[in-house]
Each structure stands twice: as structure tokens, then as C-alpha cells.
């Protein structure tokens, strides 16, 4: 099981588009994923869940991954947050 705290850096936070990118990324991996913020936990592979978490810019979310490919998955997610969800592309 891996757990990391990640700061949401893109301008409008985990809005629909960013949430979609996150969910699409996690869908590639087998590991179960949970995203938590301020006491609320959601299935990170659920677009509804992530959107409803509505994590704004500057907030910190906790990602917990557990499964055979948890390391790869974690790296992929960290890259995504780092690149601010490729929104400049």
C-alpha cells in the first residue's frame, strides 16, 4: 500500500477536466485507489467521486494505492499533478 499527500497545483483544482484526466490515468492500472480530502474519501477511479471531492487549487489530497502496480500508478499520478494535467498543451 502506498500513500502520498499531493498538493493540487492547477488553477481551478480537480475540476471536471482534471478529474477526467486523473480517472483515465488510474484506469490503466489494476491497483485500488482512494482519494481523500478533509475527512472525505472517494474511489479515485470514479469520475463522480473525484468531481464531487471538488478539491480546489492549493488544497492537499491524500492518495492511497494498493495493488501489484501501485508504484507505477503512483508515479503516473504524481507526473500528472506535476504537469498540472497538461492543461498548457
Amino acid at each position: 500500500m502506498l500513500e502520498r499527500q499531493i498538493v493540487v497545483g492547477n488553477r481551478l483544482g480537480l475540476h471536471a477536466r482534471a478529474a477526467a484526466r486523473l480517472v483515465q490515468t488510474l484506469a490503466r492500472f489494476q491497483s485500488a485507489a482512494v482519494l481523500a480530502r478533509a475527512g472525505r474519501e472517494v474511489n479515485a477511479k470514479s469520475i463522480m467521486g473525484v468531481m464531487l471531492l471538488a478539491a480546489p487549487k492549493g488544497s492537499t489530497v491524500t492518495l492511497r494505492l494498493s495493488g501489484v502496480d501501485e508504484e507505477e500508478a503512483m508515479q503516473a499520478v504524481l507526473d500528472l499533478f506535476e504537469s498540472r494535467f497538461d492543461e498548457d498543451a
Binding site: 488553477r11 475540476h15 477536466r17 483515465q24 470514479s46 469520475i47 463522480m48 471538488a54 492543461e87 498548457d88
Partner: protein, 577 residues
């Protein structure tokens, strides 16, 4: 039996076809339980419907192209994800397995549960994503009821007129490809996303026809005049004659107008009038060129900022601006800097405070001068594009000279920086001010020598002058350019432009309204900037006009004390010389 009703015509066009009714979904689904023995079958039915909905989305995604694809793509991706959402799906399975609800009802319950959570979120952007949930759910409901739904008719929909409650943009694209000739909806507005899309697709669309679903039966012959919003069911012989006549007139008009494409916009007394185009997309630009516009008089840049989570980068903006400049093949392009207020700015990542009165708030040039980083980025992108062709900059909502001077400073700085970085910047990039704030219009004499041209934004100018919101349909005809104050102000500005040899354009809706062309010519205007769709009509009026005779009528127009007086004077303008 002939029946007639009307709605709001959202696009132009006539159509005659067979009615295809699609009833409104989802909202009135009655609670329905199934026998325990049928659980597996019901689950299968649900999963079939979900698969079908997914397949449809993929199909739509593949079929749409161009500008529509860019707009819709994002929503379709989101919808696809919603259909795969483990939360949504497990909830549904649970409801059927343990609750013994029917697939439809389980779907409704799940949707309601999720909608409630959406509604509780304090963020308007997120709340509006609830529509996406509804669209997706609607699609699954439709798939569950495939039996009676003609939208899936194997022969396609050639010659059909769809009559339904509302229509989503994604459905519109798909339906047009399948041959639908018109759409009539009971709800909806002419300003919706669907209406805008229908216009680009040249699909006759009538919205807000509340009685539609009660007057039309599946298979009825139905005639739609989108221009007037009139719908006739089971038209009689007279209706059909009138339809054919209207069709012939439309075709004749189109042919006539088409002939004007390459003709000069020259009055009968040999004066050249410049017609520029207002644009915001590649289609507008290519249409402008095709119709012989003198250039782009107003290129709106807001679309680069809206419906996004982050501000557009300099590179992104530069490519967009360069695109337009190259697309106009040497004709001048006027780019208007960001014209947004705090009310819209939220949706593009600028966290500004809420304003009680956005129309009178921090918008246009005020916003740009306050958001330095944003403004520099846009100016840099524009300046970089200037190396590729004649480019002008237009500043929205200017209210005083200081604003123009501040921008000139900024432009000098940016130009210096860019040249130091090795970019090719044009020697001369003209700077203009949009005149829409009354103070600027009245004090223009003191400001005009600091700008290279002015462009009168009549939409907002009239709004501020008459203290009337142009979107408020309770005001009746109060919002109208036919007010003595408006005419006199315009006349003054045109004259000031001539005296100081500063080009003056009008870029508001009146410029594209052929009813006002002679009026504007009479008052002294020689440069119009208008939507390409109106260019040929206005050119026709100009070619038919005797400019000097019209101008001689100006004193009479300006003397009119009220709207009635103006209208009388206008009628004399219309009379053949």
C-alpha cells in the same frame, strides 16, 4: 386536420417532412419493482443499455469533425467516463439486486442521489456539470426503450422533422448526419449551445414551442419555418403553395447575394465603403475572405479564455492570432483584447471578487490593466503575430485617455522585450479604442489623437446611453438605436473622425442590420464591421445607395425629436432618389 402553433425561430430555414416524436425522458419515471426471479434479466437489460450508450458515444465522437469536435469532445469524454463510473454502476446493480427496482427506476434513483450531491456543491461550474449527468442518464433511458424510439430507425432519418422536449448539442450533430431536416423543441432558447450549433449546421430549429408535443403525432406531415418560428402540422394546399413560394424566394435571394461576393462595395455615386468582418473562428475568417471583406474589423479573443481551467499560454494565443493573420492573406486583422468581466472571468481561472453590477464593473481594458500578467501575455502574443501580416489592436471598454496611454507604454515595453528575444515585430501596430462607454464617446476629442482608429461598439453604447439592458425582454422597444441621443452622438463621432483624419468604424449589431445601413451612411459612416452572414445584404444596400443624397438628409434625421420623428425621416431615406 391542420394544426398550427409557433415557437421561437432559433435559426433560419424552411423544411417540410415527417414528424418523428421523441418523448421527454427520465423525469416522470414511476416507481417500478420487479419480481425477484427477474433480477438477472433486468441486470442484463441494464448492462445492455449501458453498452449501447457507450457505443453511441464512441460513434458520435468519431463522426463529428472540426470546430464542433473541439467543443463537444470534452463533454463526450466526460459522458463516456460517467458511463464507466464504478460508483454509478455498483449503485445501480445494488438497487436492482437488493431493492428489486426496475432498471429505469434504479437509474432514476441513482441519478437523483448524485444530482443532489452536485446541487449541494457551492461552485456554479460544478453545479452545471449536473447537466452532463442528465444527458448521460437520458441516453441510457433511451437505450432501455429502444423498441419504440424512432431515433434509431434503420433507414436513418432522411426527411424527418424531430419533435421533442429539448435537444443536446451532441445529439444535434448526430441527427444532422442521419438526414434530419428540422427540429422543433418544446423547451429551449435561441441562445443555447444547441441553437448556436444548429446555425452552423444550417439546420432549421424552432425552440420554445410549448404545445409542440400535444399537437403533433408521429408520422404527421409537418412544415417548419424557422425564420418565423411557425410550425404547421398537416399543411393544406395553401400552406404548401406558400412554402414552395418561400423556398423559391429564398433561393432567388441566395443566388442574388452570391453574385455580390466579388463585387465592390461602392455606392451609386462611386464612393467606396469599407466592409470589415467580425470574427471569432476559422469559419468566420474564411467566410470573410470569400465574401470580399476588407479585413477583420473585430476579432474576439474571449473564446481562448472561456470554458477552460487554465489561462491560455502565450504560445497558444500566438498560434491562434497568427492563424487569423495568415488566413486573411494580407488584409488587415484587428484583434480585440480580452473583453470579459468578473462574472465570466471565474470560469477561466481568475479568482476575482463577485460584483453586484458586472456591466459597470471591472471588465475589458480595466480588467486587463489590473491583471498585468494576463495582459502582457496577450499583448506579447499579438505583437508576435504582427510579424506575419497587417495587425491592429483594439481595446474594449475604454473610458479615459489614461487607459490608452498606459497600454501604449506596455506595448513599447513588450515590443522592446520581444525584439531583444529575437522576435520579428511589425514596425507599425495600430492601436484603437472601442467607444462604448458614453464618457469616452463624449470626450473623444481629448483622446482621439492618442489612437490610430476608433471602433464604436453600438451594442453596449446604446445600452449605457439608454440605461437599458439589451437582454431584458421586459423593456420592450426601449433598447433601440433609434433615439435622438444615439444619432447625434454617432454623427458627432463620425465628424470628429473626419476632422482629425482618424478612421471610425461601427462594429455593433446595427452595422450588420440592413435596415440601418442607409441611416449610418447618411450620418457619415464609411467603415462597417459586421458578421459575415450579413455582409452581402449590407453590400447590396450600399451599392443601391446615393451617398451624397443620403448625407443631405442628415440634418432632418438629427432634428427629429423622438423615435417617431426618426422613423419618418428614415422612410424618406428609403424612398428612391
Amino acid at each position: 386536420m391542420r394544426r398550427a402553433f409557433s415557437g421561437i425561430g432559433a435559426t433560419r430555414g424552411l423544411a417540410l417532412g415527417r414528424a418523428c416524436i421523441v418523448q421527454p425522458q427520465a423525469l416522470d419515471i414511476a416507481e417500478e419493482r420487479i419480481e425477484p426471479g427477474r433480477v438477472e434479466a433486468e441486470l442484463e437489460r441494464l448492462h445492455e443499455a449501458l453498452s449501447e450508450a457507450r457505443r453511441e458515444l464512441i460513434a458520435v465522437r468519431e463522426r463529428i469533425r472540426g470546430a464542433i469536435a473541439l467543443e463537444l469532445g470534452e463533454f463526450l469524454d466526460l459522458h463516456a467516463l460517467l458511463l464507466e463510473d464504478p460508483e454509478l454502476l455498483s449503485g445501480l446493480d445494488q438497487l436492482i439486486r437488493t431493492g428489486h427496482y426496475s432498471a429505469d427506476y434504479a437509474l432514476k434513483l441513482q441519478r437523483d442521489r448524485l444530482a443532489a450531491v452536485f446541487d449541494s456543491i457551492d461552485d456554479p461550474y460544478m453545479r452545471s456539470r449536473r447537466e452532463d449527468l442528465d444527458h448521460v442518464v437520458g441516453r441510457v433511458h433511451a437505450a432501455l426503450h429502444r423498441g419504440g424510439d424512432c431515433v434509431d430507425a434503420p433507414g436513418g432519418l432522411a426527411g424527418e422533422v424531430l419533435v421533442t422536449d429539448t435537444i443536446a448539442p451532441s445529439e444535434l450533430a448526430q441527427l444532422t448526419e442521419r438526414g434530419i431536416v428540422a427540429i422543433v423543441t418544446a423547451q429551449g432558447s435561441a441562445l443555447s449551445h444547441s441553437a448556436i450549433l444548429a446555425r452552423s449546421l444550417h439546420l432549421p430549429l424552432v425552440v420554445g414551442a410549448h404545445e409542440a408535443l400535444s399537437h403533433v403525432n408521429d408520422g404527421d406531415a409537418i412544415m417548419v419555418d424557422a425564420g418565423s418560428g411557425q410550425v404547421i402540422v398537416e399543411p393544406n394546399a395553401q400552406d404548401l403553395r406558400r412554402f414552395r413560394q418561400l423556398q423559391r424566394e429564398n433561393e432567388r435571394e441566395q443566388r442574388q447575394l452570391a453574385r455580390l461576393k466579388r463585387k465592390a462595395t461602392r455606392t451609386r455615386d462611386e464612393v467606396d465603403i469599407a466592409l470589415y468582418a467580425n470574427a471569432e473562428s476559422r469559419q468566420d475568417v474564411s467566410q470573410a475572405l470569400e465574401l470580399g471583406a476588407a479585413g477583420i474589423g473585430l476579432y474576439r479573443t474571449e473564446f481562448l479564455f472561456l470554458q477552460r481551467n487554465e489561462l491560455p499560454t502565450e504560445e497558444e494565443q500566438f498560434f491562434a492570432y497568427r492563424d487569423v493573420v495568415l488566413g486573411m492573406g494580407g488584409r488587415p486583422v484587428t484583434i480585440r483584447t480580452l473583453d470579459l468581466g468578473a462574472d465570466k472571468a471565474d470560469s477561466c481561472g481568475l479568482a476575482l471578487g463577485a460584483e453586484p453590477n458586472p456591466a459597470l464593473g471591472v471588465r475589458g481594458i480595466r480588467l486587463s490593466l489590473r491583471e498585468h500578467g494576463l495582459f502582457r501575455t496577450q499583448l506579447r502574443a499579438i505583437l508576435r503575430a504582427s510579424g506575419y501580416g497587417p495587425l491592429r489592436i483594439l481595446l474594449p471598454m475604454v473610458s479615459c485617455r489614461e487607459e490608452v496611454l498606459a497600454v501604449r507604454e506596455l506595448l513599447l515595453e513588450c515590443t522592446r522585450d520581444l525584439r531583444d528575444e529575437g522576435h520579428e515585430i511589425a514596425e507599425q501596430v495600430e492601436l484603437g479604442a472601442m467607444i462604448e462607454v458614453p464618457a469616452a464617446a463624449l470626450a473623444l476629442a481629448g483622446m482621439i489623437r492618442h489612437v490610430d482608429f476608433v471602433s464604436i461598439g453600438t451594442n453596449d453604447l446604446v445600452q449605457y446611453l439608454l440605461a437599458a439592458d439589451r437582454n431584458n425582454d421586459q423593456l420592450g422597444s426601449i433598447y433601440s438605436p433609434l433615439h435622438p441621443a444615439v444619432l447625434r452622438l454617432l454623427h458627432e463621432i463620425f465628424a470628429l473622425g473626419r476632422r482629425t483624419r482618424t478612421p471610425v468604424l461601427v462594429c455593433g449589431e446595427v452595422a450588420g442590420d440592413e435596415r440601418y445601413t442607409r441611416l449610418l451612411l447618411a450620418l457619415g459612416l464609411t467603415r462597417f464591421s459586421l458578421h459575415p452572414g450579413s455582409l452581402l445584404q449590407v453590400r447590396r444596400v450600399v451599392r443601391d445607395a446615393d451617398l451624397h443624397a443620403l448625407r443631405r438628409q442628415a440634418p432632418a434625421l438629427l432634428r427629429a425629436a423622438d423615435r417617431a420623428g426618426i422613423e419618418r425621416a428614415l422612410q424618406r431615406l428609403e424612398a428612391p432618389e
